[in-house]
Amino acid sequence: MGCFHSKAAREFRGHEDPVKLASETAFSVSEVEALFELFKSISSSVVDDGLINKEEFQLALFKSRKRENIFANRIFDMFDVKRKGVIDFGDFVRSLNVFHPNASLEDKIDFTFRLYDMDCTGYIERQEVKQMLIALLCESEMKLADETIEIILDKTFEDADVNQDGKIDKLEWSDFVNKNPSLLKIMTLPYLRDITTTFPSFVFNSEVDEIAT
């Protein structure tokens, strides 16, 4: 149907093709289209340019434009796959893919490893963990004695740093997460399963789905 195709084309002009994105991720075409609705609302909130910048990301996450947070920054950087300082629709979908309930455990573990390896050395060092811990305490305005912080770090590294070299490598991390599955809780967004109901897309896509399968 000529009408349908041109409407769909218009909708996604300038952005990656939903069919292609669906084929490369756990999302169906309708789900990608629903994600597009979400993407549109986030990416137009400060600058209407079809891209999510840092401010817009912060706004979406914290409902505040000026909220600086090292973890959100890290997530933003990881979503900004092409290192352009902005997240485009393709980046958005591919990055969220890891958070899908059906994404592999391995991918989720890999993501968290890279997440916490803030300085990208290939290891999660004790100093990094201390920095993150302090940042969290600051964020929650929680107070813990320095001694307590050291005890927490000691305990964590005792458990995770098997070869006791002061840092956690990929393999150690993998084992650690398998023993502590709650650490992956942040890596699954059940919302992604019902995305088409939360963000109904106004592009009729039943025909597209049939073609895609």
Binding site: F62, E139, M142, I152
Partner: protein, 192 residues
């Protein structure tokens, strides 16, 4: 009356079990014995080797909170907030703890009573105050809540900051599950 004849012997339990009458329709109880053959804790005491050190285990969470569990609590790592445009009661699961553990507990007690947390909650608090290190299973009252949730809380020292933090975190996970906005309660604790 029984002089001269052998005193009637009482039947022994074993004999009863063997008797046909007893066996009829009898299903012997099956006790599922968990395999507690892990001797690590015993070894830890009697052997000096570090290998047998055992971490105290909670039902759901291993050992005391590790750094990453704490770090995971950051709002910056909870992307579900991206999906909630209105963010009504899903908005905030972080709280600000001000003051020492005892103060927190007192404030929580004040705030919680009117919400009907009475029975199970106050019991927990009383145990904490009594310094009882018991592993309490806290059952939620189903009355005004739609879901039944069981929260495992380790009633540690009342002075233990970490324990208070963990407890409150437990309340949060609990509130998430029960889909109950405990926000008014949070406000009393200085929500951030």
């Amino acid at each position: 009356m029984f002089r001269g004849s052998p005193a009637p012997k009482r039947v022994t339990p074993q004999e009863v079990f063997k008797d046909e009458w007893f066996k009829k329709d009898y299903k012997p109880p099956v006790f599922e014995e968990k395999d507690y053959s892990n001797m690590d804790d015993v070894d830890a005491v009697f052997k000096d080797s570090g290998e047998h050190l055992v971490a105290e285990k909670k039902e759901e969470q291993p050992a005391a909170m590790n750094a990453f569990e704490i770090i995971s609590m950051s709002r910056g790592l909870n992307l579900e907030n991206l999906f909630d445009p209105k963010q009504e009661f899903k908005r905030e699961t972080r709280i600000t703890l001000r003051g020492g553990a005892n103060e927190i507990i007192e404030k929580t007690e004040e705030a919680a009573k009117p919400l009907g947390f009475d029975t199970w909650y106050i019991t927990w608090l009383e145990n904490v105050k009594a310094g009882r290190k018991e592993y309490l299973n806290v059952a939620k009252e189903a009355a005004s809540r739609p879901n039944d949730v069981v929260v495992d809380i380790d009633a540690a020292d009342a002075d233990n900051e970490l324990a208070a933090a963990e407890y409150v975190d437990g309340i949060f996970r609990f509130s998430e599950n029960a889909e109950v906005a405990l926000l008014p309660w949070l406000d009393n604790l200085s929500v951030s």
